[in-house]
C-alpha cells in the first residue's frame, strides 16, 4: 500500500489537507513519538502530514504578559530561550530533562501535548501554567485549557481535522518560585517513574498562591487541588510542608509496571513534593 506524504508550507494548506483526509492522516512534527510507534506498534498511516515546513508554528512570541509557543517549538528551543527561565522556569527545567539533546532538538511541544502521556514532562509544566491549547481546523478555531485537552493516556479532545497550533499562558509574576523534578530509571533518556512540579508565592510568611502537579502517577498529569487548597494561606513551616507532601502521596493513583511499583512511586511523590516545596520556600525567601 502506498503511503501519501504531504509537507505543506502554509498552515491553510495543512488544514485543507487534514480536512480532506481526516483520521486517515497522521500528523508528523518532530517524529520522536510517531516514528517509535510506527516501528513498534506497527501503525502504518495512510497519509503522513508533515508540519515541518510551517515556520509560523516554530515561534516563541510575547504579547504583554501572554506568552505563545508555536506547536513546533522544540524542547531545545524552550530550554535555550533567554527569557523563559524567568517567565516560566519549571517549563525550562522540564524541557531540559526531556530525553537527550537529540530528542530535544526534534521533539516539539505540540507533539508532547498530542502524545498525552501521563509521564510527559513539558506537559506537566503546561498544567501548572494553566496553558490553553490552540486548535485550528479549516472551519474552526478554538482554545482549550490543557487539563481539558488531555483526557486519558494517549487521548485528547483534538478532532481529526484539527491541528494544534500552539499554546498560550501568562508569564509568572517575578515573585513566584517554581520547581520541576523527575526521577526515572537513569539520569537521561528516561521516562519518569514520577515527576512533580510546582509554583508558589509566599508573602508574610504564608503560602499564597500555590499550584502543584504530578506526572506518571495517574492516567494523566494531575493537579493537586486539595493540597493546593490546604497550602493556600498556611504559614510556611516544616509541618505544613510535611503534611502537604503526605497528602500529595495519598491523593495520587500510581500503578505497578515494568519500570517501577506503586509503593515506590507513592514514596517518590512524597519526597519530590517535599523537596520541591522546601526548595521553593528557600528560593522565595532568598529573593
Amino acid at each position: 500500500m502506498d503511503q501519501v506524504y504531504i509537507r505543506p508550507s502554509h498552515l491553510d494548506d495543512a488544514l485543507e489537507a487534514l480536512n480532506a483526509y481526516g483520521d486517515r492522516a497522521h500528523i508528523l512534527a518532530g517524529g520522536t513519538d510517531l516514528l517509535v510507534r510506527m516501528r513498534h506498534d506497527g501503525i502504518y498511516p495512510e497519509v503522513i502530514l508533515d508540519l515541518g515546513a510551517l515556520g509560523e508554528l516554530r515561534k516563541i512570541s510575547r504579547d504583554g504578559d501572554d506568552i505563545h509557543l508555536g506547536a513546533l517549538v522544540t524542547h531545545r528551543q524552550i530550554e535555550k530561550d533567554a527569557m523563559l527561565a524567568g517567565e516560566a522556569g519549571m517549563l525550562v527545567s522540564a524541557c531540559h530533562q526531556v530525553g537527550s539533546v537529540q530528542i530535544r532538538n526534534s521533539g516539539t511541544i505540540g507533539g508532547n501535548l498530542a502524545n498525552a502521556s501521563p509521564a510527559g514532562d513539558a506537559v506537566l509544566a503546561l498544567y501548572l501554567l494553566e496553558a490553553a491549547v490552540h486548535l485550528q481546523s479549516k472551519h474552526r478555531d478554538r482554545w482549550v485549557p490543557v487539563g481539558e485537552f488531555i483526557t486519558a493516556p494517549g487521548q485528547t479532545t483534538r478532532r481529526a481535522d484539527e491541528i494544534i497550533c500552539g499554546v498560550r499562558f501568562k508569564r509568572l509574576p517575578p515573585d513566584a518560585a517554581v520547581f520541576f523534578e523527575k526521577v526515572g530509571q537513569r539520569q537521561a533518556v528516561t521516562i519518569s517513574k514520577a515527576s512533580a512540579g510546582g509554583i508558589v508565592r509566599i508573602s508574610q510568611g504564608c503560602f499564597q498562591e500555590c499550584r502543584l502537579a504530578l506526572g506518571a502517577v495517574a492516567p494523566t498529569i494531575i493537579r493537586l487541588p486539595e493540597v493546593e487548597a490546604a497550602l493556600a494561606g498556611s504559614p510556611v513551616s516544616p509541618q505544613v510542608i510535611d503534611r502537604a507532601a503526605a497528602l500529595a502521596a495519598a491523593t495520587c493513583h500510581p500503578i505497578d509496571d515494568i519500570r517501577s511499583t506503586v509503593a515506590y512511586r507513592r514514596h517518590l511523590v512524597q519526597v519530590l513534593v517535599h523537596r520541591g516545596l522546601a526548595a521553593m520556600v528557600a528560593s522565595a525567601q532568598s529573593a
Binding site: 537521561a188 515494568i258 509503593a263 514514596h267
Partner: protein, 740 residues
C-alpha cells in the same frame, strides 16, 4: 622495534568514523532476498503441526523453511542440544519442542522484509502447551518437568572442589559468615543487532557473512547442521558492532546458510539477507547467567580465612550454550583470589524455560567474585578489620595453592595491584595495618545524600583451558627482495570493537621489526585464515601474540634462507591444563591469569534511593600493555558495563516471557550515569607465557565492581545488599524506608 607499548591509531578507525566500514547489515548483494525468522513466542510447548501454506502462497514469498528442511537438526557450541528449527519432521527426537520464547521455528525468505514479515504472521502453529519451569531451584526437583527428556535431568553440569576439611576448620573459626547471594541476568546490548547475508560463493561454498566471535566454530556448526563437509562452508566476519560474549553462540548463521543452500538446490541463485530488530536480538540471543550462591566462610581472629564453603546454582536457561564452561570459572572464582586451606564447592547448571544464559564478559567470574568479595567484606566487618587489611592477609602470591590444589602458574603481583589501588582510593598503611583514611569514612552531611567507598579484588583466567588444548594459528607472508617491502598477516581473530586487529599488527611489526604501515591484515575468513579460537576469555591478545610471534620467527628464518615468497604458518599450543577431577576438583585449570583491584565511590540518596557512582579506580596487571589506549578503553568500557549490571540494568522475565524486550524498558547507562571519574592504573608485571609479557585484561574490571559498589553502599547506608541490581526500589526496601 618499538611497535608495541605505544598507542597507535587504530587500524579500523578511519573506516568506522567515516562510515566506510561495512557491518553485516550494511552489506547488500544484487538480487538479494530477505529473511525473517518465526520465533516460538511461547516458553514451552510441543509443536503438533505447522501450517505454512498461506505464507507460501503469498506473492513475493520465495521459500518457507521448517524443521523438515534441516538436514541435521541440532547445533550448539559445547553440546548440540538445540534444534536449528523446532518442529515435527526431523529424525532427532524432541526437536518438535520449543523451550524458550526465542526458539526458531521457520525461516521465511521473500522479496522484501515487509513481505517476509507479513508471511511470517500467516504461519499457523498448533501447540500442545507444556508446563513451564523458570526457577532453577524448582527445575532441580525430582518431579520437575524435563526440558530435555532424553537427558533424564534438568541439571546438566556439576563441579565440586574438596580441599582440606571445611567442617573441622569451621570449628576453629572465630567468626563465620553465611549468606545467600543472587546475581541477575544481563543483556549484552551490543550496538549492532544480529545481521548477515548468505550466498553460494564462486567456488560453490555456502558462505555466510555475519558477526561472531570465532569464524571456524561458526563454520563447524553450520557444516554439521547442513550435513556438508567443512570446506563446503565459508564464514566471513565483516566489521562487528560489539560482542561481549553475546556472539559466541549461533544466532542467524545456520538459518541463513540453510536458506542459501535450499534456494540453490531449487535453482534460485539469490543471496539471503537478514537483520534482526532490537527486540529480536534481545529474545534471540543468550544472557549473562543469574546465579544463586550460598556461602559459609570462617576466619580466625587474626583475619585468616580458613574455610570457605560455597554452593552455586546457575540458571542455564533452555539450552546448554557455554553454561558448563561459565560454571567452571565461577567454581574457581567463587573463593576469590585468596589462598584458603579448606574449600568445599558444589556448583550446578540447570535447564529452565528462560532465555538461554551463556557467555558475557567475565564468564562466571563476576558471579563468583560477587560472593567471594561480599564474604570478605562481611568477615572484615565481623572482625572489625579493614577490608584492604583482610584481603592482604589472604591474597594469592606467587606459588600459592589454588582451591583446586595446585599452585597458581606464573608470577603473582596481586598484592601490589591492591596496594596501588588502595593508596589511590584513600587507604594508607599504618603500623597497625591498612586503614581507610578518616576523611573517607565520613558518610557526608549533604542532606539526604550519603557517601561510601568500597574495594574489591579478583583474578581472571586467560583462555578456556580446564583441559581444553588452547591453540591459535597465524600466517605471515613476507614480500620484497633485499628488504621486506610488504607483510601480509592472516589471522582469524575477530575485531569486535576491542581493537584486536590493531594489536595484531603492532605485534607483527614488533616481531618482524618492520614499520607498522608495511603490514596489512587479512582477517576472519575461513577460506583464507587458520583457526584462531574464539575472541573471548581474555585470550586473544595472549594467544594471537604467541601465534604471531611464532609465525614471524619462522618467516624470518625462511626469509634468511632466501625463500621467496616467504610464507610461514604457525600454530601456538598453550601449555597443557587439566579438567576438574570429578571427586576432588583437583586440576591445573588455566595457563595464566590477570589480576585486578577496583574501588568505587558512591553517593546514595537515601530518600529517593538513587545511587550515583562518583568515582572508580581500577588497577589492572595486564602484563604488558601492547596498546595502552586500548587497554584504557577496555577498562573504562568494562567499568560502565559492570556499573550497569550492578545498578540499573534489570532484565525481567516472568513465566518464561521477557518483559524487557527493548531499550526503553531494559535501560543501560547513558553518559550521565557513568562515573565522573574512572582512573585506570595500568600495571605491567610480565606474564612469562604471554607475548612480550602480555596477559589478557578485557574482562577483569567487570569482576570486582559489583561487590565494591555494594561495599560502598553498605558504608553509606549501613545495609548489606546481597542481591542486585541496586535499583532505588531495592535500596529503599533494604534500608527499611518502605515495603515494596
Amino acid at each position: 622495534m618499538g611497535a608495541i607499548g605505544k598507542s597507535i591509531k587504530r587500524v579500523d578507525a578511519l573506516g568506522k568514523v567515516t562510515g566506510n566500514a561495512l557491518f553485516p547489515g550494511d552489506i547488500n548483494k544484487p538480487n538479494q532476498t530477505y529473511a525473517k525468522i518465526l520465533f516460538s513466542n511461547v516458553p514451552h510447548a510441543r509443536i503438533i503441526k505447522i501450517d505454512a501454506s498461506e505464507a507460501e502462497a503469498m506473492p513475493g514469498v520465495v521459500a518457507v523453511l521448517t524443521a523438515a528442511d534441516v538436514p541435521v537438526n541440532e547445533y550448539g557450541l559445547n553440546n548440540m542440544d538445540q534444534p536449528v528449527l523446532c518442529g515435527p519432521g526431523a529424525v532427532k527426537p524432541y526437536t518438535d519442542r520449543v523451550r524458550f520464547i526465542g526458539d526458531q521455528i521457520a525461516v521465511i525468505v521473500a522479496e522484501s522484509e515487509a513481505i517476509a514479515t507479513r508471511a511470517r504472521d500467516l504461519i499457523k502453529i498448533d501447540y500442545e502447551m507444556l508446563p513451564v519451569v523458570t526457577d532453577p531451584l524448582d527445575a532441580m526437583k525430582p518431579d520437575a518437568i524435563l526440558l530435555h527428556p532424553d537427558k533424564g535431568s534438568n541439571t546438566f553440569g556439576h563441579y565440586l572442589i574438596r580441599k582440606g576439611d571445611v567442617s573441622n576448620a569451621f570449628k576453629q573459626a572465630d567468626v563465620i559468615i553465611e549468606a545467600e547471594y543472587r546475581t541477575p541476568a544481563q543483556e549484552h546490548v551490543f550496538l549492532q543487532p544480529e545481521a548477515g547475508i548468505a550466498y553460494i560463493d564462486e567456488e560453490g561454498r555456502v558462505t555466510v557473512e555475519a558477526s561472531g566471535q570465532w569464524v571456524h566454530e561458526d563454520q563447524h556448526q553450520i557444516a554439521h547442521a547442513l550435513n556438508l563437509p567443512l570446506e563446503q562452508v565459508r564464514v566471513i566476519y565483516p566489521a562487528i558492532g560489539g560482542a561481549f560474549g553475546g556472539r559466541e553462540d549461533i544466532s542467524i548463521q545456520i538459518a541463513l546458510a540453510l536458506a542459501a543452500m535450499r534456494l540453490h538446490e531449487r535453482g534460485i541463485e539469490r543471496p539471503v539477507k537478514i537483520i534482526w530488530s532490537r527486540e529480536e536480538s534481545i529474545i534471540g540471543h543468550h544472557k549473562r547467567h543469574p546465579y544463586i550462591i550460598r556461602s559459609k566462610w570462617g576466619a580466625t581472629r587474626e583475619g585468616k580465612v580458613i574455610a570457605a564453603e560455597n554452593e552455586l546454582i546457575a540458571d542455564g536457561g533452555a539450552y546448554y550454550y557455554t553454561s558448563t564452561k561459565v560454571l567452571g570459572n565461577a567454581t574457581l572464582m567463587c573463593t576469590g583470589p585468596y589462598e584458603i586451606p579448606n574449600v568445599h564447592v558444589d556448583s550446578y547448571a540447570v535447564y529452565t524455560n528462560n532465555i538461554p544464559n551463556g557467555a558475557f564478559r567475565g564468564f562466571g567470574g563476576p558471579q563468583g567474585a560477587f560472593a567471594a568479595e561480599m564474604q570478605m567484606d562481611k568477615l572484615a566487618e565481623a572482625l572489625r578489620m579493614d577490608p584492604v587489611e583482610i584481603r592482604m592477609k589472604n591474597i594469592l602470591h606467587t606459588g600459592s595453592l589454588l582451591s583446586v590444589g595446585t599452585p597458581i602458574p606464573g608470577q603473582v603481583n596481586l598484592e601490589e595491584v591492591l596496594r596501588q589501588c588502595a593508596l589511590k582510593a584513600g587507604w594508607h598503611e599504618t603500623p597497625s595495618g591498612w586503614q581507610l583514611k578518616a576523611s573517607m569514612k565520613n558518610q557526608g552531611d549533604d542532606g539526604s545524600k550519603r557517601r561510601g567507598i568500597g574495594i574489591g579484588v579478583a583474578f581472571k583466567n586467560i583462555g578456556f583451558s580446564f583441559g581444553y588444548q588452547e591453540n591459535c594459528t597465524a600466517e605471515i607472508e613476507l614480500h620484497g627482495d633485499a628488504e621486506i617491502d610488504q607483510v601480509i598477516l592472516k589471522h582469524a581473530g575477530a575485531e569486535v570493537g576491542q581493537g584486536a586487529h590493531t594489536v595484531f599488527i603492532q605485534m607483527a611489526a614488533e616481531a618482524l621489526d618492520v614499520p607498522i604501515d608495511k603490514i596489512s591484515l587479512i582477517a576472519s575468513d575461513t577460506a583464507v585464515t587458520g583457526n584462531s579460537g574464539s575472541v573471548s576469555a581474555s585470550r586473544m591478545t595472549f594467544m594471537a601474540g604467541n601465534a604471531i610471534r611464532g609465525a614471524a620467527a619462522l618467516a624470518l628464518e625462511k626469509w634468511q634462507n632466501e625463500e621467496r615468497p616467504t610464507v610461514a604458518t604457525y600454530t601456538y599450543l598453550a601449555p597443557k591444563t587439566t579438567p576438574y577431577d570429578p571427586h576432588t576438583g583437583r586440576s591445573e585449570p588455566n595457563v595464566a591469569y590477570g589480576y585486578v583491584a577496583e574501588a568505587a565511590e558512591v553517593l546514595v540518596d537515601v530518600e529517593t534511593g538513587e545511587l550515583k557512582i562518583t568515582k572508580v579506580i581500577c588497577a589492572d596487571d595486564v602484563g604488558k600493555a601492547i596498546s595502552p589506549n586500548l587497554v584504557k578503553g577496555q577498562i573504562e568500557g568494562a567499568v560502565v558495563q559492570a556499573l550497569g549490571y550492578t545498578t540499573i540494568e534489570n532484565f525481567i522475565q516472568k513465566d518464561g516471557y521477557t518483559l524487557t524486550k527493548n531499550l526503553s524498558t531494559y535501560v543501560i547507562p547513558t553518559v550521565l550515569d557513568v562515573p565522573d571519574e574512572v582512573e585506570s592504573i595500568i600495571l605491567e608485571f610480565p606474564e612469562e607465557r604471554g607475548p612480550w609479557g602480555a596477559r589478557g585484561m578485557a574482562e577483569m574490571p567487570v569482576l570486582p565492581l559489583a561487590p565494591a559498589i555494594c561495599a560502598a553502599v553498605k558504608q553509606a547506608t549501613g545495609v548489606w545488599f546481597d542481591e542486585f541490581p541496586l535499583t532505588p526500589e531495592r535500596i529503599l526496601t533494604g534500608i527499611g524506608e518502605f515495603e515494596n
